[in-house]
Symmetry: C2
Subunit: 111 residues, 2 copies
């Protein structure tokens, strides 16, 4: 999303997390990787609508942020697999709380 960064503010942890998942497709990618490691092409298909350029860019950022791992298998044709790091798994767990809230929020009238 783009979250205001206020160093020192007591919500900076949230801001940091938001910065990591800031990107239109990152949560979807994280979610898909939760099930199992995936190749680039698989992710393209699993995350409909994302372009190659943007998927590659966001994967790089997620890798830089240490939430996913990029494994290159030297073969022909090339094979690259992306997987969650332990940190990434923790992030997904934290996102689940948000997911539960969202599901509850979506209900027209909940109990």
């Amino acid at each position: 999303m783009a979250v205001a960064q206020r160093p020192g503010a007591d919500h900076c942890g949230v801001a940091a997390a938001m910065a990591v998942i800031d990107g239109k497709w990152k949560v979807s990618v994280l979610w898909e990787l939760e099930r199992c490691p995936r190749r680039f092409g698989e992710l393209r298909r699993l995350v409909p609508g994302v372009s190659e350029k943007v998927l590659a860019a966001q994967l790089r950022e997620l890798e830089t942020d240490g939430v996913i791992h990029r494994e290159v298998y030297e073969q022909v044709p090339p094979r690259v697999e992306y997987s969650l790091t332990p940190l990434g798994r923790d992030l997904n767990t934290a996102l689940e709380a948000l997911g539960e809230w969202g599901t509850k929020y979506l209900l027209p009238d909940s109990a």
Copy 2:
């Protein structure tokens, strides 16, 4: 942030939550309101960097989404107070999980 919406996908709850907090200052606002209700001008000061236009717009969206309540006191000068709804408090709780992850993530090397 702007999160890909994939109706039917099993992460749609997360997407819904992300949509609600999508806005550069929304999390900060939510955070400030956690402590106590705040007036418009207070929020401006508490959330440094936000413009009047954008603050007003994001407050409207948060209100539309049912996470904050807008109370207008008919006085001169005008007085408007914003507060969290129960739904908003739940959202903040869910965000705390993310905040804890973020804090952990920020540590150079954690135990």
